[in-house]
Every structure is written in structure tokens, then in C-alpha cells.
């Protein structure tokens, strides 16, 4: 059986990758993807803990998270499209109209 720690380490790595992606990528779509990565890192944790703690709750939580993430991405992409229409760019660097 795969030890729990493997999952936990994997989840930590995925989380950090997502975080780094958010911090260093400039394309807002990739930032969205990175955030998805972070959410999925949490999902890995939930499923793994759920399995080892022998309770179903964590896996139920994952379903909720997946649904919410889908909704969030939908809204996010809508915002991205609206943004692109107005600015013709997806580069967050150029979002400097509001005084930084």
C-alpha cells in the first residue's frame, strides 16, 4: 500500500507549483490554471486523508470542490473574455489602470 506521506508530499508539490505559477506567470489564463492546480492539491489531500482516516467525508468534500472550481472557472473565463474584449490583452502586467 502506498504510504499516506507520498500523497501528502505530492499534494504539497502540486500546491507549490500552482502557487509559483500564480506568482510568476503573466497570462491570466495560465494563472487560472495554476489556481486549479492549487485546488487539486487540496483535493489530493482530502482524498488521501479520507482514505486513511476511513471516513467518506473528505471524498464528499472533493466533489463539492470540483463543482465549485468549475463554477469559478466559468466566471473567471467570462471575466477574461470581457477583459480581452476591452483591452485586447491577457497580460496582467497591463492591468494598471487602477493606480497601483
Amino acid at each position: 500500500m502506498v504510504p499516506l506521506s507520498y500523497y501528502v508530499i505530492l499534494s504539497a508539490i502540486v500546491f507549490v507549483i500552482g502557487l509559483a505559477g500564480v506568482l510568476i506567470r503573466r497570462n491570466i489564463v495560465i494563472i487560472l490554471l495554476s489556481i486549479e492546480l492549487m485546488l487539486n492539491a487540496a483535493n489530493i489531500n482530502f482524498v488521501a486523508f479520507s482514505h486513511y482516516a476511513e471516513t467518506i467525508v473528505g471524498q464528499v468534500f472533493v466533489f463539492f470542490v470540483m463543482t465549485v472550481a468549475a463554477a469559478e472557472v466559468t466566471v473567471g473565463l467570462a471575466i477574461v473574455i470581457a477583459l480581452y474584449r476591452r483591452r485586447a490583452t491577457l497580460n496582467v502586467e497591463e492591468l494598471t489602470l487602477l493606480k497601483w
Binding site: 506521506s5 502540486v14 507549490v16 506568482l23 482516516a53 497601483w100
Partner: protein, 684 residues
């Protein structure tokens, strides 16, 4: 009956303010014709009410306590909206409503042509209300409400002629400086709450003896910070001279007779607490003594008629603080009262001069007004003699008691400070008088044309206050140290320090204070009337000292340099930092330079494609990140990276140090041991 009477005293000015204020809000045009009736009527009726309570108390009736409703409660604290009217409050009530009503009346003439006439009376009544709440409150919190309220009204009234930028700035300055003091006061209130579990005077003050010296010192010093701000003592006095930008009746009412004395009232009210803290008492006395001479010295050379009076007020308040610090509470309140008479008189008379000259305040452009505006001149002279401490006018009695308290209380240095300040007072007041009313006329042609005596509605209050300045001192304070006011206040402040004054030293003290007063008068007479060239010659000789005084020791500039500018700069720095950090957070690493862009691309490809081997790359990436941190732009948002890294490092550290025998968190111990084995296996 008595309940209704007591509540009506603060309620009447409030009602007046509401009528005038709401009328103004709805833009009623008839308001201009009636607003003074409302305002003067409200304060006059309040005076009548105060007089009835005062007579009751002086006939020997017990203090009145009244409770309206519970205001703030919880955690064992119960604060009510309630009144306490004892002898101390009664005297304050008489001063506030009496002098206040006269000043209201005077304002009818003074502000007659002002477009903001109803607004002025709204603020003035609101001020009366706040001041009455302040002195009638039966607990610290309600007191604080009045305390903040008077500060607020003072702000509104200083900035009344906000068309002048200086007026608006002076208002803001007064408010902010006061807020600093108020913060200290509020902290003192919190300490009182922790020490006694109550904020009622009736509970706290009798139990003051339970305090340790340290606690009492902390509380009283914090309260003192508030008093120093409100009463314009060193080091928070700078707002008061600037406050002269307000209309003159305001200067008379708020910045001479009532609000600025709130600090003195507060110290006297809390004398039981101060008695427990000898150090605080010393501090009060020293602040008072030093302020007295400091402000008086600045007053020596000022040319603005109202500014001279303002510095004089600061200086006189210093006397009151000195008295309170020496334990001569009755003397402090006595001086508060006489000062209210003669300083209100002086300000109103100065206002009458300004009015007569069409707005001129510079005494270098006055002179020779004695016969032109006789009532103003005579009353101003009476005020001058009273404040200079020449018997038998009011100022002599109260100031002499204070100086005597210093001398007989074993504080010769304070006594000398007070005596010197008294000499200066006599000098600058007679200088003011001679330059304004005597000598050749230096009026501009325009002012000459405008010159006229004020109407009766203005001279009436002047004459009333002049009478009070003449007889008020002797009536209340004779015989010295055992006068009526001492007996009246004895139930509140105790009768101590009354009999201490030995006859010999008292006589010596009296003689000294009369001599210095006459000395000051004589110098002023010689310099400004007898040999007018002497003043210029003196200036030429002591240019440096003169400039120091004229620039008020550069204290304002110092405060700007030390406090105001750094605070603003800090705000700006943070604003900038904020902007740049958030910039970085979203924008990412590669902003601007191609090098950074390339570097981030490099990292990103290696992260994405090498993610499975990430652990192996850890050191590599760390190094890269560190290089990034040093590469210029990135340092702006490095904070975020570092926080993240720090957290993760913490995770590792914690896992390594987790207690394996912990309580059932098997899952995590497993993880910890795994990471440990990984580390060991990796062979760092």
C-alpha cells in the same frame, strides 16, 4: 422639580442648537431674524437655572445626583447618563452659563453682518451644551463625551471663517492636537476601569486610596495628557494661538473662559487620584509653572492683539495648573473663575477694538484710541489691571493665592517662575494697552474713517464683565486663603493647605507680587509711552532673543519636522510600497527587463516539465529564486515569496520536530518520519 431644573441646564442650549441647526438645514430664511433670540434665550435660561442650583447649594443643600438611563454596560461595567452637581460643578456652571450668556449677547452685535449668523449661534449653543455635559457628568465616560464635544465645537468655531485658509488649518490643528491628548485621557479612563471596575466618580474617587502609587501615577499622568492638550499646556499648547483665527467671541468663550479650563477642572475633580501620586502632582505643578513663564515670554513681543491675549491665556492656565499641582485646588478654581471674568473681558474688548477698526488686529497700526472708543478703552484698562495682579482687582487675589501656595508650600523655584511670569504679564498687558489706546494714532486712513464705538449690545457685556473683574476677586477671595470660595469648595476639595500660610511669608509674598506687577507696568510705561525710542533700541540690542520669541521658539516648526512630516511620509511610503507589492503579486516576475523575463520563463519550464523531479531541483530553484531576489525589480514583491518559503520551511522543521509519541495523529507522524527518511536518504 429639581430634576427638571438640573436637566434643563444642558437641555436648553441643546434645544437652541437643534432649532437653529435644523432651521439652517432646511434653509429657513426667517431664521436670521430669530436665531439670536433662540440662542441668547437658551443660554440665559440656562444661567437662570444654574443660578437657582447655585443658590440652593450655597444655602447648604447636599449635592444633586441624577440618572437618566444606562448607557454602556457589560463586563461588570455600568455607565449611566447621569449628572452630579456639587459645589465644584456649581461654580463651573455659573462661570459657563454666566460668562457664556454675556458672550452670546455680545455676539449678537459682533456677528451681526456675518452671513453665517444662524450657523454661528448653532455652534455656540452646541458648545455650551457640550461644556455643560463636561462639568455636570457624574462619570468619566460622559465627561469624555463633553470633552470631545467641546473640542469638536472649538474646531467648528475656529474654522468658522473658513474662507481664510489659515482658519481652516488652525481648526484642523486644534482638533488633531486635542485628539492626541484625548487618546491619553481615554487610556487613563481604561486604567481607571481596570483598577476600580467602575467609571462613576462616586465609586472611584472615594476609593482612590486603594491605588498603589504606580497605578495612581500611571492613571493621573494619562489623564494629564488629555488635560495638557485641552488646556494648551506645554508641550501641546501650539494650537491655542492659532485658534485666534476664529471670531473673537469664540476666542473669549472657548479659548479663554471655559473650554481651555476644562483641564484644570479635570485635575481638581480628580484630586483624590492625584493625591495618591506625588510624582504626578509635581509634574502638574512643573508643567504649569514652566508654561506660565514660557508663554508669557512669547507674549512679550507679539504684535497681534489677539495673539498676545492667547499667549496670556496659556500663561494664566499655567498658573492654574501650578496651583492644582501644589494642592491648592480652591486657588486653582478661584483663578479659573477670575480669569474667566477678566480674560473674557479683555477678548471682548479686543473684539470691540477690532470691530471699531474694521478688522485690524495689528497693534502697530493702532494707538490713540483712548478718547475715540471710551467704553472699550476703560473696560480694557480694567481687564489689564485685573490680569496684571494689581489690588484690589480680581486677578490679584487669585494669583496671589497661587504664588503664596508655591512659597509656603516649599517650592521657591516655582514661586520665582510664577513671580517672573507675573512681571511679564504686567509688562505685556500694559504694552498692549499703551500701544492700542495711548500714544499717537498710527491708524490707516481707512480704519480712521471706520472708527466708531460699539453698540450697546456689545458694550453692555463689557461693562458687566468689568464689574465682575473689579469686585469678583475680593468678593469671593477675601480674606486671602479663607475667603468665601474656600468655604464653598471645601466639601469637594477638602480644607487642607488653607491654614498653612504663615502671616510673615504671606505678607512677603503679597508685597513681592504687587511690586513685580508695578514693575512690569512701569517698564511698559517707560518703554512705550515715556521714551518710545527705547523699545526699538532694546530690540536692536537683543535681536537674537527677540527673533527667538517672535518666532515662538520655533516650536511649531519643530513639531512639523518631528511629527507631522514623518507621519505623512510614512503614509506615502506605505502607499508606494503597497502599490508596488500588489503590482508584483499579480504581475509576476518578468516585468520590464528581458533578463527577468527569460529567467522566469526558464523557471516556469523547469517547474512544469520537471515537476515530477521537483525535489531534486529544490536547491537549484532556491538559488535561482535568491538570485531573482537580488536582481532589481523583484525585491518589491520578494516579501510574498519569502513568506511562502518561510511557511514551507516551517512545515519541514515542524515535521522534523514532531513528537512521535503524540496523541493519535498517526497520519502525520508517518509523514514526518517519511520526510525524515527522505532527508537522511538524500544525504544532505
Amino acid at each position: 422639580m429639581i430634576t427638571a431644573l438640573a436637566w434643563s441646564i444642558p437641555a436648553l442650549p441643546l434645544a437652541g442648537a437643534l432649532v437653529n441647526g435644523l432651521g439652517g438645514l432646511f434653509g429657513f430664511t426667517w431664521l436670521r431674524r430669530v436665531s439670536h433670540f433662540v440662542a441668547v434665550g437658551a443660554s440665559g435660561l440656562a444661567f437662570a437655572g444654574a443660578l437657582m442650583l447655585f443658590l440652593r447649594l450655597s444655602a447648604g443643600a447636599p449635592p444633586i445626583t441624577l440618572t437618566l438611563y444606562q448607557w454602556i454596560f457589560g463586563a461588570g461595567l455600568h455607565v449611566h447618563v447621569g449628572l452630579l452637581i456639587d459645589q465644584l460643578t456649581a461654580i463651573m456652571l455659573m462661570v459657563i452659563t454666566g460668562v457664556g450668556s454675556l458672550i452670546h449677547l455680545y455676539s449678537v452685535g459682533y456677528m451681526h453682518d456675518d452671513p453665517g449668523y444662524p450657523r454661528f449661534f448653532t455652534y455656540l449653543n452646541l458648545f455650551m451644551f457640550s461644556m455643560l455635559v463636561l462639568v455636570m457628568a457624574d462619570n468619566y465616560l460622559l465627561f469624555f463625551v463633553g470633552w470631545e464635544g467641546v473640542g469638536l465645537c472649538s474646531y467648528l468655531l475656529i474654522a468658522f471663517w473658513y474662507e481664510k485658509t489659515s482658519a481652516a488649518q488652525a481648526g484642523t490643528k486644534a482638533f488633531v492636537v486635542n485628539r492626541i491628548g484625548d487618546a491619553g485621557f481615554l487610556l487613563g479612563v481604561f486604567f481607571i476601569f481596570t483598577s476600580f471596575g467602575s467609571l462613576d466618580y462616586a465609586t472611584v474617587l472615594p476609593r482612590a486610596g486603594e491605588l498603589t502609587t504606580a497605578a495612581a501615577t500611571a492613571i493621573t499622568l494619562l489623564l494629564l495628557v488629555g488635560a495638557v492638550g485641552k488646556s494648551a499646556q506645554l508641550p501641546l499648547y501650539t494650537w491655542l494661538p492659532d485658534a485666534m483665527e476664529g471670531p473673537t467671541p469664540v476666542s473669549a468663550l472657548i479659548h479663554a473662559a471655559t473650554m481651555v479650563t476644562a483641564g484644570v477642572y479635570m485635575v481638581v475633580r480628580n484630586h483624590a487620584l492625584y493625591a495618591m501620586a506625588p510624582f504626578s502632582m509635581e509634574t502638574v505643578a512643573v508643567i504649569g509653572g514652566v508654561t506660565a513663564i514660557f508663554a508669557a515670554s512669547i507674549g512679550l513681543v507679539q504684535y497681534d492683539i489677539k495673539r498676545v491675549l492667547a499667549y496670556s491665556t496659556v500663561s494664566q492656565l499655567g498658573y492654574m495648573f501650578m496651583a492644582a499641582g501644589l494642592g491648592a485646588y480652591a486657588a486653582a478654581i478661584f483663578h479659573l473663575m477670575t480669569h474667566a471674568f477678566f480674560k473674557a473681558l479683555l477678548f471682548l474688548a479686543a473684539g470691540s477694538v477690532i470691530h471699531a477698526l474694521g478688522g485690524e488686529q495689528d497693534i502697530r497700526k493702532m494707538g490713540g484710541l483712548w478718547s475715540k472708543i471710551p467704553v472699550t478703552a476703560w473696560t480694557f484698562l480694567i481687564g489689564t489691571i485685573a490680569i496684571a495682579g494689581i489690588p484690589p482687582l480680581a486677578g490679584f487675589w487669585s494669583k496671589d493665592e497661587i504664588l503664596n501656595a508655591a512659597l509656603s508650600g516649599g517650592h521657591p523655584i516655582l514661586w520665582l517662575l510664577g513671580l517672573t511670569a507675573a512681571c511679564m504679564t504686567a509688562f505685556y498687558m500694559f504694552r498692549l494697552f499703551f500701544l492700542t489706546f495711548k500714544g499717537p494714532s498710527r491708524l490707516t486712513h481707512e480704519a480712521e474713517h471706520h472708527l466708531h464705538e460699539s453698540p450697546l449690545v456689545m458694550t453692555g457685556p463689557l461693562m458687566a464683565l468689568a464689574v465682575l473683574s473689579v469686585i469678583g476677586g475680593a468678593l469671593a477671595g477675601y480674606p486671602s486663603e479663607a475667603g468665601w470660595i474656600h468655604h464653598f469648595l471645601a466639601p469637594v476639595v477638602g480644607a487642607h493647605a488653607e491654614e498653612e500660610a504663615a502671616g510673615g511669608s504671606a505678607l512677603f509674598g503679597v508685597a513681592a507680587s504687587i511690586i513685580v506687577a508695578l514693575l512690569g507696568l512701569t517698564i511698559a510705561w517707560v518703554m512705550y509711552l515715556l521714551r518710545p525710542g527705547l523699545a526699538e533700541a532694546g530690540l536692536a540690542r537683543f535681536t537674537q532673543a527677540h527673533r527667538l520669541l517672535l518666532n515662538k521658539y520655533w516650536v511649531d516648526e519643530l513639531y512639523d519636522l518631528l511629527v507631522v512630516n514623518p507621519t505623512k511620509a510614512l503614509g506615502r511610503v506605505w502607499d508606494w510600497f503597497d502599490a508596488t507589492v500588489i503590482d508584483g503579486a499579480v504581475n509576476g516576475v518578468g516585468r520590464g527587463t528581458g533578463r527577468c523575463a527569460a529567467l522566469s520563463t526558464w523557471i516556469e519550464t523547469h517547474i512544469i516539465y520537471g515537476s515530477l523531479n521537483l525535489t531534486g531541483y529544490a536547491n537549484h530553484i532556491m538559488a535561482r529564486l535568491l538570485r531573482l531576489v537580488q536582481s532589481g525589480l523583484v525585491h518589491h514583491y520578494a516579501a510574498i515569496f519569502l513568506v511562502g518559503l518561510f511557511l514551507l520551511a516551517n512545515l519541514l522543521w515542524w515535521l522534523n520536530h514532531a513528537d512521535p509519541g503524540g496523541d493519535g495523529l498517526v497520519v502525520w507522524n508517518q509523514a514526518a518520519s517519511f520526510i525524515n527518511s527522505l532527508r537522511r536518504g538524500g544525504g544532505s
